[in-house]
C-alpha cells in the first residue's frame, strides 16, 4: 500500500483518539484504587501523567524510526520472524482478553446499578455488534467516533458541581501523608486507569503529521490527566476515607449528589453516557488486535474482526466462576504494563542491531 493512502489522522483526531482510548472504566473506580493513600491520593494523577510522558517518548521514537510500520511489523523486523511472531500472538491474545475485561467490567456496572433484574446477554451482544461496526470503519472512523464521544461526554464534568459545593477543601492536606510502600501499591493499582496511550504504537503509521505526533499525543494524555485529577480532587473533598475505600464506583456516587429539578437519578444518566467512553476504548484495542491478526496471517481479512469479537463474547460469557474471570482480567490489566515498557526494550535492540536491520 502506498504511504499516501495510509495517512489519515489529522491533528485533532490524534488528540481525541489518545484521550478517549485512555478513559474507559478505569476512571470510575480510580479514587477507590488509590484509596490506600487515603486523602493524599490527590496528586497521583499528576505523577501518572509524568510517567506516561516519559514512557511515551521511546514509543514515538521507535515508531519514527520505522515510519510505515506498526509494532507487530517492528517486532518481526527487530526480533526475527519467529520470535517476533510469537510475541505478536501473545499481544493479540492480551488485547482480546483486555477487551473482554473492559466489556465485562462495564456490564457488571450496568447489572448492579441500572438493570438489576435482567440478564446481560442481549446488552453484551448489542454492544459487540456496535463495536464491530465501528472497528470495521477503520482507524479514521474510530478517531471520528472518539471526537464525537468527547463532546458528548465532557458535559458530565458539570455533574461534579454538587460534590464540590458540599465537599471540604481542607481534606487534601497534608499532601504527602504516605510511605513508599503505600505509594508503590497505589501506583500499581491506579496506573491501569490511564492506560491506552500505548496504542500509538499501532496507529502511528496513519498519522499525517508524524513529526509532531509526540506533542499531539501529549496534549491528549494531559487532557485525560486533567479529568482524572478533577475526579480525584472532588472525591477527596466529598468523601470520608472510609467511603473512598469502600464505594465501588465512587464517581457515580458523586453524580448521585446532583440535584436537578427534572431528573432524579443523574447517576443512571452517567452510566448510560459512559457507553461512549467504553466503546472508544474497546474499539481502539479491538482494532489493534485485528491488525495483529492481519500481520500474523500476513494478509488483510475483514473476518479477523469477527474472530476476535466472537472470542471476546466467549470469554465474557465463560461459564467459569466469577473469581477465575476476575483474576484473568486482573492479570490482563497487569500484562498491559509490560506492553507499555516493551518499546524501551525494542529501542535498545534497535540501537544494537541498527546496522544489521538497515542492511
Amino acid at each position: 500500500m502506498s504511504q499516501k493512502n495510509l495517512k489519515v489522522l489529522n491533528v485533532y483526531q490524534v488528540i481525541f483518539l489518545v484521550q478517549n482510548i485512555m478513559i474507559g472504566t478505569g476512571i470510575l473506580s480510580l479514587p477507590q484504587r488509590l484509596s490506600i493513600l487515603g486523602y493524599s491520593q490527590i496528586l497521583m494523577p499528576i505523577y501518572f501523567g509524568i510517567i506516561a510522558t516519559i514512557t511515551l517518548w521511546p514509543m514515538v521514537w521507535l515508531c519514527s524510526q520505522y515510519k510505515g510500520d506498526n509494532l507487530f511489523r517492528i517486532n518481526e523486523i527487530l526480533l526475527g520472524k519467529w520470535i517476533g511472531k510469537s510475541i505478536n500472538v501473545l499481544l493479540v491474545l492480551q488485547f482480546t482478553l483486555f477487551v473482554a475485561g473492559i466489556v465485562s467490567n462495564y456490564m457488571n456496572l450496568i447489572q448492579s446499578n441500572a438493570l438489576p433484574e435482567q440478564t446481560m446477554t442481549l446488552p453484551i451482544i448489542l454492544l459487540l455488534v456496535l463495536l464491530t461496526y465501528i472497528v470495521n470503519g477503520g482507524i479514521k472512523t474510530i478517531a471520528r467516533f472518539c471526537t464525537l464521544s468527547f463532546f458528548i461526554t465532557i458535559p458530565m464534568l458539570y455533574f461534579l458541581k454538587w460534590g464540590i459545593e458540599k465537599g471540604e477543601f481542607s481534606h487534601i492536606f497534608p499532601l504527602f501523608n504516605f510511605d513508599m510502600k503505600e505509594f508503590g501499591k497505589a501506583l500499581q493499582e491506579g496506573y491501569l486507569s490511564i492506560l491506552g496511550y500505548e496504542l500509538i504504537l499501532f496507529y502511528f503509521p496513519y498519522i499525517v503529521n508524524q513529526k509532531k505526533a509526540f506533542k499531539h499525543t501529549l496534549i491528549g494524555i494531559w487532557i485525560t490527566i486533567g479529568i482524572c485529577f478533577i475526579t480525584t480532587l472532588v472525591s477527596v473533598m466529598y468523601y470520608s476515607e472510609w467511603q473512598l475505600r469502600n464505594i465501588q464506583f465512587s464517581v457515580l456516587h458523586l453524580f448521585k449528589a446532583g440535584e436537578l429539578s427534572f431528573v432524579e437519578r443523574i447517576d443512571i444518566m452517567g452510566i448510560t453516557l459512559w457507553v461512549f467512553l467504553i466503546l472508544t476504548t474497546v474499539a481502539g484495542y479491538l482494532w489493534s488486535a485485528k491488525k495483529g491478526l492481519d500481520s500474523l496471517r500476513s494478509k488483510k481479512n475483514n473476518y479477523h474482526v469477527y474472530y476476535i469479537v466472537v472470542a471476546v463474547f466467549g470469554i465474557v460469557m465463560l461459564p467459569a466462576s466469577r473469581e477465575f474471570q476476575e483474576k484473568l482480567f486482573e492479570a490482563s490489566f497487569y500484562i498491559e504494563y509490560i506492553v507499555v515498557a516493551w518499546p524501551i526494550v525494542l529501542c535498545l535492540i534497535h540501537l544494537v542491531r541498527k546496522k544489521q536491520v538497515q542492511s
Binding site: P174, K256, E259
Partner: protein, 367 residues
C-alpha cells in the same frame, strides 16, 4: 445472496417474536412505591418496620397505604409486606426514613442506613430523621389538614430559610459523618404534637449511638461554625433580658486557625456576621438611627454571641463530641494515620478563643 440472508433473518425474527417469553417486568400500576419508612426498636434482634405507600387510585378512600411488620432484616420485611400488599414493593421513590429515639440510642441506625447506601435503587438524597415517639404512630396518625403524610414529612425536612437550623441530613451525610474520623453525626429530631409534627431540635451522636438532643439555637451555632452561608434568623437577649432583638443574617464567614499542637491544642475562631436588624425592643429603641448607638449594639451582640458559642463549645468538650469538625483543623497538619480517638483527645483538651464581628447593615425604613 447477502440481501436474501438478511431478509430471511428479519422475517424469521418477526415471525418468532410470538414465541418469546412473556415480559417479566411489572407494569407501573402494579408497583407500590414506598415513599416513607420508619423503624422502631423492639429488642436487640428485631425491629418494627413501617412503610407508607402513596395510593394513586382516585377511588381509594385513604390516599396512603401503611404496613407494619416485625423483622430482623429490611429486605426480609419488604418480602413480608409484599405478602399483604397487592403490589410489588419497590424503594426507587423513597424520600424519608424515620427512626425512633430508642433505635438510635442503641446504635442500630448506622446498619440500616448503610443498607440503603448499598442498595442501588435508593438515591443518596433520601432524608433521615429521628422521632421521639414511635415512627409507626407518626406514619399512621391523621393529619386532617394535610393531603398526605409522605409529602408532609418530606416538605417539613426540606430546609427553608427560617428553619435553616435544620441540618437536613441525608443518607450520604450520615454515612459521611459516621465514617469520618473528625465528625460526629447530627440528625434532625421530630416530635408529634396535636395533629402536627414539629421540628424539635437535633440529635447528636457519639460513634454509632445517639447521645442526647440539642436545641434549635445550639444547632444554629453548629451550622454557623461549619460555615453555612444561609442561616436562620438570630434572636438574642441582651443585658439580662432587658433588650431583645432579632437579626436576619445575610452572610456568615468563618475563619479557624489552630496552633497545630496535639498536646495543648488551641483554636482561634473568627466569625463575621452581616445582617439586618428586623426587630428590637429595649432602651435604645428610639436612638437606633444614630450610628454610634448601632456600633454599641454591635459590640454588645459580639460579646453575647461569642460567650454563647464558647459556652456551647465547652458543653461539647464535656460530652467529647465534635459535630462541627473542629478536629479537622488539627488533622490537616498531622502526618500519619488519624483516627477517632485522636479527635476525642483533641476535643477533650481543646481551648477555644471565639471572636465575633457583627455588622448591622440596615435597620429598616424608619429613621
Amino acid at each position: 445472496m447477502k440481501k436474501n440472508i438478511i431478509l430471511f433473518i428479519l422475517l424469521s425474527t418477526i415471525l418468532l417474536i410470538g414465541c418469546s417469553d412473556k415480559e417479566l417486568k411489572v407494569p407501573l400500576e402494579d408497583v407500590g412505591m414506598v415513599s416513607t419508612m420508619a423503624f422502631d426498636y423492639i429488642d436487640e434482634d428485631t425491629m418494627k418496620m413501617t412503610v407508607a405507600i402513596p395510593q394513586f387510585s382516585p377511588e381509594a378512600k385513604e390516599n396512603t397505604q401503611t404496613f407494619s411488620v416485625s423483622t430482623d432484616m429490611v429486605s426480609k420485611g419488604i418480602v413480608e409486606i409484599e405478602m399483604h400488599s397487592d403490589k410489588k414493593i419497590v424503594l426507587n421513590q423513597l424520600r424519608v426514613v424515620l427512626f425512633n429515639e430508642e433505635f438510635a440510642q442503641h446504635g442500630e441506625m448506622e446498619k440500616i442506613v448503610r443498607h440503603f447506601y448499598r442498595e442501588s435503587s435508593v438515591g443518596n438524597k433520601v432524608l433521615i430523621a429521628i422521632v421521639n415517639d414511635t415512627g409507626e404512630q407518626i406514619l399512621k396518625a391523621d393529619y386532617p389538614d394535610k393531603p398526605n403524610i409522605n409529602m408532609y414529612i418530606n416538605d417539613l425536612l426540606q430546609p427553608s430559610i427560617n428553619t435553616a437550623f435544620n441540618p437536613n441530613t441525608n443518607i450520604h451525610d450520615f454515612i459521611y459523618t459516621q465514617t469520618s474520623t473528625v465528625h460526629d453525626s447530627i440528625v434532625p429530631l421530630l416530635e408529634k404534637k396535636d395533629g402536627t409534627i414539629k421540628m424539635e431540635g437535633i440529635a447528636i451522636f457519639k460513634g454509632h449511638e445517639m447521645l442526647q438532643s440539642l436545641t434549635a439555637d445550639e444547632a444554629l451555632i453548629i451550622q454557623a461554625l461549619q460555615g453555612r452561608k444561609n442561616l436562620a434568623p438570630l434572636s438574642l437577649e441582651l443585658d439580662g433580658g432587658k433588650e431583645k432583638l432579632m437579626l436576619d443574617l445575610i452572610t456568615n464567614k468563618v475563619n479557624m486557625k489552630s496552633n497545630e499542637n496535639m498536646e495543648s491544642p488551641k483554636l482561634v475562631i473568627n466569625i463575621k456576621f452581616e445582617g439586618t436588624l428586623v426587630e428590637y425592643s429595649g432602651e435604645k429603641e428610639d436612638s437606633l438611627h444614630k450610628l454610634e448607638e448601632i456600633t454599641k449594639l454591635e459590640e454588645e451582640i459580639n460579646e453575647r454571641t461569642s460567650k454563647q458559642i464558647e459556652e456551647f463549645l465547652d458543653k461539647l468538650k464535656e460530652l467529647e463530641v465534635d459535630p462541627v469538625g473542629l478536629a479537622e483543623e488539627f488533622r490537616r497538619y498531622y502526618h500519619g494515620d488519624w483516627d477517632k480517638k485522636k479527635t476525642n483527645d483533641i476535643i477533650s483538651k481543646l481551648e477555644v478563643d471565639v471572636q465575633v464581628e457583627t455588622s448591622i447593615i440596615s435597620t429598616g425604613n424608619l429613621k
